[in-house]
């Protein structure tokens, strides 16, 4: 899932908003929609645009789960933490995943290959415990299967369609 789409410069993205603090959330949402995450540079631009210290923006951006502060990895892993998956051991699965990838939820690995998220429910409870990776579903997971998948992806650097 390569993104080849052109992005607009940040100043263009935020220019339509009035320079007032109450537009912060909308600005953050639009910037994230444009770039996929909120980079330090984006936050600094918003900070000088709104004349608002970056500590305030960082505070807001980390308060809401919807905002991502790291560039997503080329392989984006989302572990389902819905009820059905929970019953089927998704917490253990998440732990294994954190260990295998060496990153915490919300982070991206140093080489930029993997990022890890959780989602409330993927809506595929019949194959619990499940995860979604770059838009594809993987179900009935256990530690072994997970290990196998991650090793394959790590070796090839991509997820086969």
């Amino acid at each position: 899932m390569e993104t080849t789409q052109q992005t607009r410069p940040i100043d263009e993205v935020i220019a339509k908003y009035p320079k007032a603090r109450e537009h912060l959330i909308s600005i953050l949402q639009e910037v994230q929609a444009e770039y996929g995450f909120l980079s330090t540079e984006s936050i600094n631009r918003i900070s000088s645009y709104l004349n608002l210290p970056s500590s305030k923006i960082f505070g807001v951006a980390t308060f809401y789960n919807q905002f991502k502060l790291n560039a997503p990895g080329r392989i984006q892993v989302a572990i389902c933490r819905g009820t059905a998956c929970h019953v089927k051991g998704s917490l253990n699965l998440l732990d294994s995943c954190r260990q295998l990838l060496g990153i915490e939820v919300g982070q991206t690995s140093k080489d930029g290959l993997f990022s890890l998220e959780t989602v409330a429910c993927l809506g595929c409870c019949s194959i619990a415990p499940a995860m979604m990776v770059n838009g594809q579903f993987f179900g009935r997971l256990d530690k072994k299967k997970l290990e196998y998948l991650i090793e394959t992806w790590r070796a090839s650097g991509r997820v086969e369609e």
């Binding site: 600094n44 900070s47 000088s48 210290p53 305030k56 505070g59």
Partner: protein, 574 residues
């Protein structure tokens, strides 16, 4: 006045007062955590709850005004229970390393636990494991000890206008952090230390220099000299139960001498030296009508603030070093020569009400060309108290002593550097003389005194009216700097101090953000000024001598080399 009852006692309260204020005025103590005097109530911690008749829920007293006929209970079983539970919940996720915590003995959480007789913590809480940030030369952050009261965040933003730290994340993961979890040294933090006054626990405290000073004293290889800032004499007594503002000048000198400093000096001398240099600079800029307004440079937190936010104003900032640096430089040149001591062997320790002075002492431009720093270590008022305790020096038993000559005679013009407006007032007393050759008749400039954030006045000297402004708290400095930047400021001379009330309210003083206490220190400082024989810097005999024997005249080449400095724009995470 309106009538209320507190704990069944009939009381008259000021309309508009909060329940907390009314109770305090009536001598009832209510514990608070998130509340900051003079700021808008945040109501976050609920430690201050009371029972109000007719209200089903407990009421946070810091956030509710009294009403006619209100019946309030501040110590009913329900209230006490609630406070105990809140304390226990806070303790449940606290690291419990109180015995080795720098705040040991001064921690508000510790006092709450002891006041409410907490002998066990029935909850199992998760504790944080964040690294301790040692990056700043002034401030240490230990987020694990943070109880999220928000006082530091509000002081830094609402009083100082800096906002170097803020709440981040949510729920259990909530933490007070610099933007992007950076180190504090990479942010806009100006090292003022107001957050260390505000923090109830050991989450924010200062970089310690006590160990280094004690070690250097005990090794005996260096020639140790101490200087004590004007503000210390009206604030050290706080640590020994004296009423705020008690003058303990003689005891400060005695304590330092007992610790083993070879000579102990009064920074008043260097304050007068600053005035000679800065007064001359002001007069010359006024005569040439250039680079006006002139801003003072005594406060390193203000200087750093300007370097970060107002690089275009740096030419307007006085090139004078701050008094502690001038003292260091003079000790290591003039005094070293006079007393035949190798400057490399001298170790200057400053006792300051200030955490920013620690950072200032490390600025590379404040060393001689040979790499000898003007000042080698800075300890705060708090750390002087700590050293006295380590050395077993009984404050009560100390006889008053004088500071050493030649920099030992206190002056009124030096003393008032401790108060916001003091540098301005001293400078005007001397500038008058420089411009007219005469002595001012009325020395007191009431308009520039006191705790208010921005003070303005116009002073006529000869033919010229000099318009002045004095600001304390950096949030107020910003207003002034903005006007100067826009080019429509009416002023010629501007004094700025970062801390509320000036250095009297410095970030290195007794813990607790307490403007009333600061006001008492300030009042004491002005009565010291009135009591001194010398109240104008140019009349200080030590000043006359140092120019005659060494510097030549104010603004001379030598004075520039040793007593002046320069500034550079600073790029940080804003």
């Amino acid at each position: 006045m309106i009538n209320i009852t507190i704990n069944n006692r009939k009381i008259e309260a000021t309309p508009g007062a909060t329940i907390l204020e009314a109770a305090q005025a009536a001598g009832e103590k209510i514990p608070t955590l998130c509340h900051i005097k003079e700021l808008f109530p945040s109501g976050a911690c609920r430690m201050c709850v009371v029972e109000v008749k007719g209200k089903p829920n407990l009421t946070p007293s810091c956030a509710f005004p009294v009403e006619e006929g209100m019946e309030i209970q501040t110590r009913s079983p329900r209230v006490i229970n609630a406070r105990r539970t809140i304390t226990q919940l806070l303790l449940a996720s606290h690291p419990f390393d109180c015995l080795t915590c720098p705040k040991n003995g001064y921690c508000e959480l510790q006092s709450l636990s002891s006041e409410y007789g907490i002998d066990r913590v029935p909850f199992q809480g998760k504790t944080r494991h964040h690294y301790t940030d040692f990056s700043s030369p002034s401030i240490i952050r230990e987020p694990d000890k943070c109880i999220l009261c928000g006082r530091c965040v509000r002081i830094c933003e609402e009083i100082q206008g800096v906002a170097a730290i803020d709440f981040t994340r949510r729920g259990f993961d909530t933490m007070v952090l610099p933007p992007f979890e950076m180190d504090l040294s990479e942010t806009t933090c100006v090292n003022c230390g107001q957050c260390t006054l505000a923090c109830p626990t050991g989450a924010l405290h200062e970089v310690r220099a006590v160990e280094k000073v004690i070690q250097t004293l005990q090794e005996g290889k260096k020639y140790l000299v101490a200087q004590a800032a004007p503000a210390i004499r009206v604030s050290l007594g706080d640590f020994f139960g004296l009423p705020p503002g008690t003058n303990v000048t003689g005891k400060v000198a005695a304590a330092l001498r007992r610790m083993g400093f070879r000579q102990v000096f009064d920074t008043d001398f260097a304050a007068d030296l600053t005035i000679m240099e800065e007064g001359t600079e002001l007069v010359s800029r006024i005569r040439k009508n250039e680079k006006l307004p002139l801003f003072t440079s005594c406060c390193p937190a203000w200087v750093k603030y300007a370097e970060i936010y107002y690089p275009e104003l740096l030419p307007n900032i006085s090139t004078c070093k701050s008094p502690q640096e001038m003292m260091g430089a003079t000790i290591k040149s003039y005094l070293a020569q006079k007393q035949n001591i190798d400057p490399k062997d001298i170790f200057v320790v400053s006792v300051m009400p200030c955490t920013a002075k620690k950072y200032e002492a490390e600025r590379p431009e404040l060393s001689s060309e040979a790499g000898i720093a003007d000042v080698d270590a800075v300890i705060t008022t708090r750390q002087l108290n700590r050293m006295m305790r380590i050395f077993g020096i009984e404050f009560g038993s100390l006889e008053e002593e004088d500071f050493d000559r030649p920099f030992g005679a206190p002056t009124g013009s030096g003393d008032i550097f401790a108060a916001s407006g003091g540098v301005m007032e001293s400078a005007l007393r001397t500038a008058y003389h420089l411009l007219t050759g005469k002595d001012l008749e009325k020395l007191d400039f009431e308009d520039v005194r006191g705790m208010s954030g921005v003070k303005e006045a116009a002073v006529t000297i000869g033919e010229r009216t000099i318009r002045i402004a004095v600001a304390n708290r950096l949030g107020n400095a910003r207003q002034i700097a903005e006007r100067v930047k826009q080019g429509n400021s009416p002023w010629d001379f501007i004094e700025i101090m970062a801390c509320p009330g000036g250095c009297a309210g410095g970030g290195g003083q007794l813990f607790g953000y307490d403007p009333e206490r600061v006001q008492k220190r300030i009042t004491a400082i002005y009565s010291l000024d009135r009591s001194r024989t010398v109240r104008m810097s140019y009349k200080n005999p030590a000043i006359t001598a140092v120019y005659k024997e060494f510097f030549g005249e104010p603004g001379s080449h030598k004075a520039h080399e040793l007593l002046h400095t320069e500034y550079e724009p600073r790029v940080v995470q804003k």
